[in-house]
């Protein structure tokens, strides 16, 4: 004989208790499956097809690894990859080399102005890449850009003229028009926009270092540089690891800034073409979506490899937790 039925209210209660977590999590996961998971899977599928979207979904043609083979032999792809790496390193390395001392100075040196200063450094980060790029287009103007005008003044000022001897005959620099200068221009912009973010991250990490460590070291006779190198840096390793990871992943996908600074073209001789830009052009302007999808996966591979190497070098230190 079956057990007596429980009252409806109890059954309902048990039901909602049991299924509540699923209900809470499912809307999220449904969305995620549609807009997160499915696109990823679909783009894998797409990368093995040849497809011109103008001709409709039915015209997809399976081409195996032909897209990948094409890209690996494509001079423009390799150039875009090279550009992307160049910009990533040239804008990324200074971001951290400058942010760490700045954060150190902010946290250890000046106490009162710390917040306003940090806010000032952080402001570029929250500003839209479009707005920032537009402003920098005027700053990078060849004849009337503020930057070149400043350089012009400095190059003629006795105190600083010696700095510019090497490039004097190149002045005024055509930042956005000539191939050798477009990448530096993009890098300057990217550096400006992101170094404040790293300052914030490093400041946060620095503030968790107990003062006693420094005081103990000072008692032992360590001076400022020594304290920095033997206490701060090692303890900062996890944060450096984290922040550099973000920079690697972010910079390798750079799109907005180079796209706007070169007017969507990649610049003279494709010097400013990043992989992300090339992907966009291939898929949306040249309508070769299969190749574009293949490119996005090659990029993922590159990012994955770079991150993997990064983990290998900094990994153990990064994943260690401090007592």
């Amino acid at each position: 004989m079956s057990s007596p039925q429980l009252p409806l209210s109890v059954r309902l209660d048990r039901f909602q208790r049991r299924f509540a977590p699923y209900l809470f999590v499912s809307p999220f996961f449904i969305l995620f499956a549609i807009f997160g998971l499915f696109p990823t899977l679909f783009s894998i599928y797409l990368s093995f097809q040849a497809w011109n979207p103008v001709q409709g979904l039915g015209t997809m043609r399976f081409v195996g690894v032909e897209n990948f083979a094409f890209l690996l032999e494509d001079p423009w792809f390799w150039q875009a990859l090279g550009n992307t790496f160049w910009i990533a390193v040239v804008s990324g390395l200074p971001q951290h080399l400058v942010a760490i001392p700045l954060a150190f100075a902010l946290v250890m040196g000046v106490r009162s102005l710390r917040h306003p200063l940090t806010a000032a450094y952080f402001l570029p980060f929250i500003t839209s890449a479009v707005a920032v790029s537009i402003v920098f287009i005027t700053i990078f103007g060849t004849h009337f850009g503020v930057l070149n005008q400043l350089i012009g003044v400095l190059a003629n000022w006795p105190l600083t003229a010696w700095l510019f001897e090497g490039i004097r005959d190149q002045l005024p620099i055509n930042w956005l028009g000539r191939a050798p200068y477009i990448k530096p221009a993009i890098s300057i912009l990217v550096f400006w926009q992101f170094f404040g973010f790293n300052v914030v991250l490093y400041s946060a990490a620095l503030m968790t270092i107990p003062r006693e460590y420094y005081e103990a070291a000072a008692v032992d006779g360590a001076n400022l540089p020594q304290r920095f190198f033997y206490i701060t840096l090692p303890l900062l390793r996890p944060m450096i690891f984290f922040a550099v990871t973000l920079t690697i992943i972010g910079n390798l996908q750079l799109f907005d800034q180079p796209f706007l600074l070169t007017g969507g073209t990649g610049g003279s001789g494709q010097a400013g073409l990043t992989v992300a830009m090339y992907l966009y052009r291939t898929g949306f302007e040249w309508l070769d979506m299969g190749t574009a999808a293949a490119m996005s996966w090659l990029l993922f591979l590159v990012i994955g490899t770079a991150t993997f190497i990064h983990f290998k070098f900094f990994g153990r230190g990064g994943l260690e937790t401090r007592e």
């Binding site: 807009f35 990823t40 100075a105 000032a120 839209s128 402003v135 103007g141 949306f284």
Partner: protein
């Protein structure tokens, strides 16, 4: 404090010396930091100053460094060229809805992951974390195709709907909830007869306000500034968000840089204002998130 008896005059002098050096260093440090801040802020200053000048003034040597008088003229030109206020409204509309929906779904989902045990929980969460590492660029083409399939091309919903399931958001929420809400609290509420959803609504939400604030700000900022997504799915000028509208302005053949700078300044202003008031929250929220993560 014990009075220290100087052993010799040299020691006194060196102590005074080091204090002076300390002050000097500190002073120089301040100077350096402020100088860096000024250089960092200069492009913003330039943007606002240029907004009040005509194009020929902007492109002149020496450049104008103080406010000009072309503000009204630039404003008129701006409105002639793009439906600026309409575009601003689009940005606001999308950003607000994106923020509200993201907060709701991410906090609900984060709550689920943090406080409950259910099948496949770890698997699903692991999946989430993995996708955090996949570059967003990968999805741009399928994103476009899905939007097109749903008939959402050129509609605002294409911009805020997909973002509701932000892996970063749910991750943040989960961490915060896990460390702020206790099982005891929930059990007490259950004994009082509250449904699970009621627990979420009346207990969890009030307690995670700081995290909601941070995620909300980040979502708003991200939506306001987003460029590539709108670039791909928005097709008509009236539907553009601000970044696209600015790009249209800049790409016009007969460009008016006075109007462009004004448009840019106006587009940046809302975020600037929010930041001035909420900078601490934003920065601290970010740092708290990164430390906990």
């Amino acid at each position: 404090m014990q009075a220290t008896i100087p052993a010799s005059t040299t020691e006194v002098r060196s102590k005074r010396q080091s204090r002076f050096n300390g002050r000097l260093t500190k002073g120089l440090l301040y100077l350096l930091l402020i100088a860096v801040a000024l250089v960092t802020l200069f492009p913003f200053y330039w943007m606002f100053v240029s907004a009040t000048h005509t194009q020929s003034d902007i492109f002149s040597a020496p450049p104008p460094l103080w406010l000009g008088d072309a503000l009204e003229r630039n404003y008129g030109s701006l409105l002639e060229r793009i439906p600026f206020w309409r575009n601003l409204w689009n940005s606001v509309y999308v950003a607000v809805i994106a923020t509200v929906t993201t907060l709701f779904f991410c906090s609900l989902g984060g709550f689920g992951f943090a406080m409950y045990q259910f099948r496949y929980k770890n698997l699903l969460f692991g999946l989430l974390v993995i996708t955090l590492m996949i570059p967003g660029l990968l999805n741009i083409i399928p994103y476009f195709l899905i939007i097109q399939f749903l008939g959402w091309l050129n509609q605002p919903i294409a911009l805020w709907f997909p973002g509701m399931a932000s892996a970063f958001g749910i991750f943040l929420m989960r961490q915060y909830i896990a460390s702020s809400i206790s099982r005891d609290l929930m059990d007490a509420a259950r004994i009082d007869g509250a449904t699970e959803f009621r627990i979420y609504r009346s207990i969890v939400v009030p307690l995670i306000k700081p995290a909601l604030g941070t995620l909300g700000l980040l979502t708003f900022i991200g939506s306001w500034n987003s460029f590539m997504g709108p670039l791909v799915v928005l097709r008509s000028r009236e539907a553009f968000t601000l970044p696209l509208a600015l790009r249209t302005l800049e790409g016009q053949i007969q460009a008016d840089w006075g109007a462009i700078m004004l448009g840019t300044a106006l587009a940046v202003l809302p975020l600037l204002i929010i930041f001035v008031f909420a900078s601490r929250q934003v920065i601290e929220g970010l740092t708290a998130g990164s430390i906990k993560g």
